[in-house]
């Protein structure tokens, strides 16, 4: 259809395996973005209303936040309406720029025709025959999220070298590395080199943790 976007309209929405599916949630998971936008807007509203204003400048410090709130409420509401009217099926193509550019505009500017679309469609497409319940792989994302949270919580008690090596190992494991023993070495080497290069040479203070306390 076009060079950077492949989305089907709700009516013809089919799952990758060709099985038509139509529950209310299909293609409407983007409502979570609406929720985030409303959350930001509401916390800005509360913060603006309860602000302890210093000084008497006019327009004061509440002026601009009010404008931003209006923008956020408007964008969130319009987005919600759009999602409810026309749900999106996730596009499965590699999408550099992530919506930053209107494919229609680029199409016109580049005088693109069928050849370019065909070339773009010739890109590897998701494996046929295998389907998943959700578009995103939540197991991998969850593993990754758990690793970064654990890293931040343990950075000060364990120190940089151990916690960064553990983070490296966990992320590599989550993303599909199967050389578990070897990766421990890679992670330790990586974190130790960073400690030496940036800690010793450039003077960054990285937490040394309990090892530093023993030494």
């Amino acid at each position: 259809m076009s060079i950077t976007q492949h989305q089907s309209e709700a009516g013809s929405a089919t799952e990758p395996n060709g099985k038509p599916k139509s529950s209310f949630g299909t293609g409407r998971s983007e409502l979570i973005v609406v929720a985030v936008l409303y959350a930001v807007a509401i916390s800005l509203t509360i913060g603006t209303a309860t602000m302890h204003v210093q000084g008497k400048s006019s327009p004061g410090p509440q002026f601009f936040p009010i404008l931003v709130c209006i923008v956020l409420y408007l964008a969130a509401t319009l987005l919600a309406i759009q999602i409810l009217r026309r749900p999106n099926v996730p596009d499965n193509t590699i999408h550099p720029g992530h919506g930053q550019f209107s494919p229609d505009m680029l199409h016109d500017l580049g005088h693109l025709g069928k050849e370019e679309d065909a070339a773009y469609d010739a890109m590897p497409s998701p494996a046929q025959g295998k389907t998943w319940k959700t578009y995103s792989d939540w197991r991998t994302v969850g593993l990754l999220l758990g690793s970064v949270i654990a890293f931040v919580a343990l950075l000060e008690p364990l120190g940089w070298i151990i916690s960064a090596a553990a983070l490296f190992w966990l992320v590599a494991y989550a993303l599909g590395s199967r050389r578990r023993i070897f990766d421990i070495g890679v992670g330790l080497l990586f974190s130790a080199i960073i400690q030496l290069a940036f800690g010793a040479a450039l003077g960054l203070s990285l937490p040394s943790g309990f090892i530093g306390a023993i030494l």
Partner: protein
């Protein structure tokens, strides 16, 4: 020709052995992040900013100059060899580039890119050197209302005119503006949205936001698809990348045409190189049709690759001029460079040339040095750089995760920053998942405070009369051009929607 003298002084500063080493490091890093899909020079600069904080500013900026252009030297490699453009600035060069690679001319295609990037960057940087003082003079007549108009122009051009969905673009803009509001309000001293936490009085660091959105957000996104997306097949290059004289002659006019498209777009906040690269590609396509070029669209035309490549780097070159002289970032990468200046306590704009003239001219000189080094490390070693594409993804992204943590922790050794990083990384993931553009967030975070200050200043002078915002020919012109662009893009969206229905 005062500029030439100043530039020579800049070269004298930039050509010390130590500074040459920094340019080389920058060029190597820049090419590396350019070759690897999904990374980019904006992310590289953001990650390196806190780490290089102990360097003197000149050395740091000389390195950033290498990264800045380097990211555009390597960006087409993935598109040419894998047919999967890793950056949106490389989509236009993928069409003909991959065809050339398929017909056994991969090495030639890579060389065309490197020389195109060199020519585009060289011409644009030269123009910047000569016209920067003119831009500075123009900027000195700008008052608060003009600066506010410029910021509004940049906000709406990036979020509404060029983006895929206007609503999503504006939503991204709103998120960015909200993030920029946190902290002590300068003019009144009021603490805003700090939840009473003293660590937030200085606001959320731009580095935390950039690294979260661009680096950690990308890692989350890759994780969500890594076990599902298919691996691309790579075309292997053999031998050295070289261009024969005949090919060079054929490509030269295309390089120059591409540069001509790229140069003006460095001054317009249209998000960077995508618009000019497609314009350049479209022109080459029309020209090929007229002269019945059999290669175009079949075995790959060198011209169709040369023009977009030159356009991309020409845009980056003049974007540097707009950034230094006006303080206007036209793309996400330029916005991070602006943040880099602010980290070192400098504000790009007319005053920068007066206050830190030495640094500015050394930076401009190192852009030239960087281009020469980049072309030297890219043409002979193009096939070596392509090997970066075969680094296992799990190690690559594990390394990026660790580096993001390092970079953000280095900002102020605060654990709170790391929690913020994770939260913003998740927002970045959501935005990628739903194709919400990231560039408006970065532009809003960086220009938001400026827009607010100038708006309040203007309204304070006029005692609340909104008329002051459209009181000068400059502001009226800016708003009119913006309105015209918005109308044009609305018409385009509607026309394509009716076409799709038909």
């Amino acid at each position: 020709m005062e500029q030439l003298e100043l530039l020579m002084g800049g070269f004298a500063n930039a050509l010390t052995p130590m500074n040459l080493l920094w340019v080389l490091i920058g060029a190597l890093l820049g090419t590396a992040v350019g070759v690897v899909p999904g990374l980019g020079s904006a992310m590289a600069v953001a990650l390196l900013l806190p780490i290089t904080f102990s360097l003197e500013p000149t050395a740091a900026f000389i390195m950033f100059a290498g990264i800045y252009f380097g990211g555009l030297f390597g960006d087409s490699t993935s598109g040419i060899l894998l047919n999967t453009p890793g950056h949106s600035s490389a989509i236009a060069s993928t069409f003909e580039g991959h065809r050339m690679a398929k017909s056994g001319q991969a090495a030639k295609a890579l060389a065309t890119c490197a020389i195109g990037a060199f020519i585009g960057g060289l011409i644009a940087t030269t123009l910047v050197v000569f016209f920067a003082p003119t831009l500075v003079k123009m900027a000195t007549v700008f008052g608060p209302a003009e600066y506010f108009a410029l910021a509004v122009f940049a906000f709406l051009a990036i979020s509404a005119v060029v983006s895929e969905s206007v609503i999503r673009g504006i939503a991204a803009l709103g998120i960015g503006l909200a993030l920029a509001l946190v902290g002590i309000d300068g003019p009144s001293g009021t603490a805003r949205f700090t939840l009473g936490m003293p660590q937030l009085f200085d606001g959320i660091s731009v580095i935390v936001i950039t690294v979260g959105l661009l680096a950690l957000g990308e890692v989350f996104h890759v994780a969500s698809r890594i076990h599902r997306d298919p691996a691309a097949t790579r075309i292997h290059t053999k031998g050295r990348a070289r261009l024969g004289l005949a090919d060079f002659k054929k490509a030269l006019p295309a390089w120059l045409r591409g540069t001509a498209f790229g140069v003006p777009f460095g001054l317009i906040p249209a998000g960077g190189a995508e618009v000019p690269t497609f314009l350049a590609y479209g022109t080459e396509k029309q020209l090929a049709k007229r002269r019945n070029d059999p290669e175009f669209g079949t075995s790959g035309s060198i011209r169709g690759l040369a023009a977009p490549e030159a356009a991309a780097n020409a845009t980056a070159g003049t974007a540097m001029g707009a950034l230094l002289a006006l303080g206007l970032p036209v793309s996400a990468t330029a916005a991070i460079m602006l943040a880099a200046f602010q980290q070192y306590g400098m504000q790009p704009g007319p005053l920068l040339f007066e206050r830190s003239g030495d640094l500015v001219w050394a930076l401009l000189a190192s852009l030239f040095v960087g281009l020469v080094i980049l072309v030297m490390i890219n043409i002979p070693f193009a096939s070596v750089w392509a090997k970066l594409l075969s680094i296992p993804k799990h190690y690559l992204y594990a390394g990026i995760t660790v580096f993001s943590m390092l970079g953000v922790y280095a900002v102020s050794s605060a654990i709170l920053d790391l929690w913020l990083l994770i939260a913003i990384g998740l927002i970045g993931f959501l935005m990628r998942r739903y194709n919400i553009p990231l560039a408006p967030v970065l532009i809003a975070v960086i220009l938001g405070p400026m827009a607010e200050t100038e708006l309040r200043r203007a309204l304070a002078v006029s005692e609340g009369d909104l008329g002051i915002l459209v009181d000068s020919p400059i502001t009226v012109t800016l708003y009119l051009v913006l309105a015209a662009a918005l109308a044009l893009s609305a018409v385009q969206h509607l026309r394509h929607r009716t076409n799709r229905k038909a």
